[in-house]
Every structure is written in structure tokens, then in C-alpha cells.
Symmetry: C2
Subunit: 335 residues, 2 copies
């Protein structure tokens, strides 16, 4: 399976995630407890991965499976990071409004690339760094509040703690992704075995979260397992399965591609959702959405296109002698 | 004189043009007839160029000066194009509002590059084409009307003729620039001699315009030469000299650099003016101004940086075998 097919599929499913979630509402409200969705998605991923692992072990006896606790215990770390991240997210939202929070969320594109370089030691060319910044700029541009919007709080008016927490949130998001990629690429274990470890801890943490919510709520709504499927429609199940599927695709990309591919997939998904919302939910098409889309497309091309396709300078060379050397060697293509 | 010094100077002077023009107003009104300013600027450029030509001929007897009418008559063409352009501009503004017009004005960045390629046969790499589009996107982004602006007409709501005229206006703007570059580079004539021809026709056309304005106004305000300097303050003279100076710099760039350099200078000047206006005129700093500035800076780097500085891929090569060939030849620089 080529990584770009998986990336495109992730883009489509991430986009449909937002749309399905909106469709699963009734009159703008959730008839079900939304907190149960991530838990069921983890369970779904765990069950499916277990099944696929079992099948793989039967077919191919040489399937690598590292079961030493020293290695297995590392798979709890992403769940811990996500836990801290969720709490930081919550704290940030006490200082800034949701649109400011959404705009700050674009920083995780840049923090992911920085940790990609620092932690995984993957080097990017200057052009690729510019592409990363442009991706963040492009997504932010599409989110700029236009003329005539109802509420108009200034982006720059929140307390400084809000911005600091926003940056921290972006760093934690990046850390979780980068650490997961580190785990998946650490050895040649079966992808499904790695998933099983990851999602076992994920399910435990999500379950603990539901238990904690019950405890804090004073068991008003009964225990979580009693109301687990309350208000679930077909659409809600689709939300669960969709969320689980995107998680599995991300896992695959972490092992066979990298975090930058994932970041591009999810960022373009955000744009795709906005474009589809113009047709599905009568969102007003804006100039900034068009501009943001153009910028992100450029960024995609700048990052992934082979260099010789970008900078093939035909016969007229304007710059320093070094580039003359390149022109002599590169295969000339007529533009 | 290196072209980048001239380009930076042009950026500064173009930016100060807008600021000086605003400063020359009294309570938002012009105490002088603004239509006299371009005319006096042409005369200033003509006088200065004549002086510099005379000086050059004295110092260097081998100064090339083509005086055949066959060649001289071509220098009227830019003035004709500008005349048509002004009329199209006027017609466009009967269909669209000024902010839509300003945004469509950014198209001339792209049309200039297209005519640069088609008419002057100057080839650009794919990356440079992307840089051009990003420059137009960046300037447009900075002009996106934000939340809380007073008037909120939709960008997409004008009649189709408005957009067609806007595109035509951008094409004419580009044609004028590209034809001027063609003239300046056609032969090795003295720059000042070429300027003298250009500005003689320019002065004549501007004078004709003033005469026509008088005629249409029924000579209510007397003849133009009677009210030429009415209401002129020091600041107004600075506006005239500034406008003349930018014209001379553009002329130099047309001969010793090219239209793309000029386009970058004037686009960045627009951003510089907006940034300065935040401090000078209390313009509200917006997210779109920040985003637009980042995009234009990236564009500048992408267009002008030597390719090997952009795509130096260090030891880990991700792409097709062709790039391996490049890495072997390129001078490795540590990022």
C-alpha cells in the first residue's frame, strides 16, 4: 500500500469525521454522551487489531512480537501525553475563546516539524521548512474571521497565559505524534501487535476518564457502562467507526510514512471540511478560504515534489555560480 | 549600483508615497488639484533626465543615442497603454467598490509574470511561478476585510463585467510594464536618453489630460496652468518629487533588472505602508496583515534565493534517484 493512498484516505475520513459529528447532532445537541465516543473507538481499534494480529500470526509464523515489559510499558506514554494535553486544552479554553484556540491549534504543524527534527533527527531542506510554515499560515488564513461575523473578539486581546497554554498544547500534540512514530519505527514488530499495546493502554485511560467523569458528577447519571449506548443512532455508530478508522490509518502512517504526512493529511482535511460545508451546511464561501486553500496546495507541492521538478532552471541562469553546476548535471526538462 | 539596493529604495519610496499623500491632505481633503501631481512628476523626471543626459554626453562622448523616428516613436506606446488603463480603471469602479478593486489589483502580479514569459520570453522555474502566485495571495490576504469592519459588501457579488474589467485592467498594467522593459533593453542607448523620450510623451499625455479635464469641466476652474500650483504645500511638493523619484527608479530597474523585481518592490511597499500605518495612523493590526507579510516574505525567498540554498537535501534522501545525482554534486551545507 503506497503511503499517499493511505494519506488521501486519512484526509477523506478526517474530513467526514467533522461532518458526521455535525450530522449526528439533533438540533445542535448531542442526544448521546459524546465522551463515550473516543472510548468505543479505542475498543474498536483494539478488537480489530487483535483480530488482524491473530490472522497474521496464523499466516506468517515469523511475525515479530516483542513482549518484554521493558518494551511494552513504553506504549503507555502516548496515552499519558494525550491525558496531559486534554487537561491543558481545557485550561487554555478558560483564557481564550474557541476561535482563538482553533487558530492557535495550527501551531502544532510547526511544533511537529520542530520535534520531528530535534527528536527523530529527520532533516528538512529550507524549502520544506518554508512549506511547513506556509501550511500553518494557509490553514490559519482560511480561519480568519471575515467581515460581518457575529462575535468579534480580538485575536490579540487574551491574557498572556492563554497564549502560553496554547503553545504548550501545540507542543504536547506534537510530542504525542512524534513519540508514537518513534515507537512504531523502533523495531520490526508487527504493526498489529504495536497497535494492540497502544490501544490497550488507550482503552484503559479512556475508561478511567469515564469513571472519573461519573465520580465528579456524583453518579447523577448512573455509571458509565449503564449509559454507554444511550441515544446512539446509526450516525453515532458511524462517528465511532470513523474515528477508529482514522486512528488505525494514523498508526499505519506512523510506521510506514511519518508525522509530516499525517500533519498534511489532517490539515487538508480541515480545508476539505470547510469546502464541503459550503455545499452541505450553507457555509458562506469566503475569500480567505480560497486563499488558504491555494496556500496549502502550494505548500503540499513544495514539500513533496522532487527538487529537480521545482527548480529546473532552463538555459537562462540568473544566480550564483553554484547553480550553474546544478544546471549542467540536472536533466533538462522543457517547461 | 546593485539592483537590490535600487529595489529596496523603490520599496521605501513607494511606501512613503502613500503615506506622504495621506499627510498632504487637510482633514481628509485635498487643498490642491490632485490631477496636477502626475503631470508635474513627469515634468520633473523629464527635466532631471535631460540634465543627466547632457552631463553624460559631456563626460563620455561614446554615449549611445538613437534618434531615428522609427525608434523614438515607440516610446509613445507606454503612455497610450496607461491612458487606456486609466479609462478601464475608471469603468471598473462603476461596477465594483474600491476594496474589491484593490483586491483585483493584485492580479497584475500574475499577469505581469505571464506577459514576462510570453512577450519577453523569460522562463521561470516552477518554484518561481509558485512564488509569484504566493506573492499575489499574500498581498490579497493582507487586504482581507476583517471582523468588525463598517461596510461589508461581498467580494463575489459584483456584476460579471466588473470582474472582466478588473482582469483587463491587470493585463494592461502588466503590458505597460513589460513593454517598457522591452524598450529599455532593446539597445544600448543611454538610460537618460530613453527616459527623455519616455517622459516627453508622458508629459504631453498628462498635459492633454489636464486640458481635457478643463474642457469637460467647462473651464469652471479656469485653465489648468492657472491653477497648477494652487494649494501646494511643502508636503505636496514632496509628493510630486517622491512620485517622480519612484518613476526614475522603475525606469532604472526596467533597464538593469526586470519587471518581476519591480513587482516585488511595489508589493512589499504596500505591506510596508500597512505596517507603518499601524504606528502612524493607528490602523488596527490584524492577523491577516501578519499572515500576508509572512507569505510575501516566503515568496521573496522562494523567488530569489539560489536553488541550492533552498533544496540542499542533506544525507537522508527521500525522493527519486534523480535527486541523488544532485546531492552528489551540490556543495553540502549543514542546516
Amino acid at each position: 500500500m503506497q503511503w499517499y493512498f493511505v494519506a488521501v484516505l486519512l484526509t477523506i475520513l478526517t474530513s467526514s469525521q467533522g461532518i458526521l459529528t455535525t450530522l449526528s447532532q439533533s438540533n445542535g445537541k448531542y442526544l448521546y454522551d459524546y465522551a463515550t465516543v473516543p472510548f468505543l473507538a479505542e475498543v474498536f481499534k483494539l478488537l480489530l487489531s487483535t483480530l488482524l494480529l491473530w490472522r497474521e500470526c496464523r499466516i506468517s509464523p515469523s511475525t515479530r512480537v516483542t513482549t518484554e515489559w521493558k518494551s511494552v510499558r513504553l506504549y503507555v506514554i502516548p496515552s499519558i501525553i494525550y491525558l496531559i494535553h486534554n487537561n491543558v486544552q481545557f485550561a487554555t479554553l478558560t483564557y481564550v475563546d474557541t476561535s482563538t484556540y482553533q487558530i492557535m491549534g495550527n501551531l502544532k504543524i510547526v511544533t511537529t516539524a520542530i520535534l520531528f527534527r530535534l527528536f527523530l533527527r529527520r532533516r528538512l531542506s529550507n524549502l520544506q521548512w518554508m512549506a511547513i510554515v506556509l501550511l500553518a499560515v494557509g490553514t490559519t488564513t482560511s480561519q480568519v474571521k471575515g467581515c460581518g461575523e457575529a462575535s468579534c473578539d480580538s485575536l490579540f486581546a487574551a491574557p498572556i497565559q492563554g497564549y502560553m497554554l496554547g503553545v504548550l498544547s501545540a507542543c504536547l500534540s506534537a510530542l504525542a505524534g512524534v513519540y508514537t512514530e518513534f515507537l512504531m519505527k523502533k523495531n520490526n514488530d508487527s504493526l498489529y501487535w504495536q497497535n494492540v499495546q497502544l490501544y490497550t493502554f488507550g482503552s484503559i485511560f479512556n475508561m478511567a476518564r469515564l469513571v472519573l467523569d461519573d465520580y465528579r458528577g456524583g453518579y447523577e447519571n448512573g455509571s458509565w457502562w449503564q449509559r454507554l449506548f444511550n441515544g446512539y443512532s446509526i450516525t453515532t455508530w458511524m462517528v465511532v467507526l470513523n474515528l477508529g478508522s482514522t486512528g488505525l490509518l494514523v498508526s499505519w502512517l506512523m510506521k510506514y510514512a511519518d508525522n509530516i504526512v499525517k500533519v498534511y493529511s489532517t490539515s487538508l482535511a480541515m480545508l476539505l471540511t470547510m469546502v464541503l460545508s459550503v455545499y452541505l451546511f450553507n457555509l458562506k464561501p469566503t475569500l480567505q478560504l480560497l486563499l488558504g486553500t491555494i496556500i496549502c496546495m502550494m505548500s503540499l507541492h513544495m514539500y513533496f515534489a522532487p527538487p529537480n521538478m521545482l527548480v529546473d532552471l532552463p538555459t537562462q541562469v540568473r544566480a550564483a555560480p553554484e547553480s550553474l553546476k546544478e544546471v549542467a548535471v540536472e536533466r533538462r526538462t522543457d517547461s
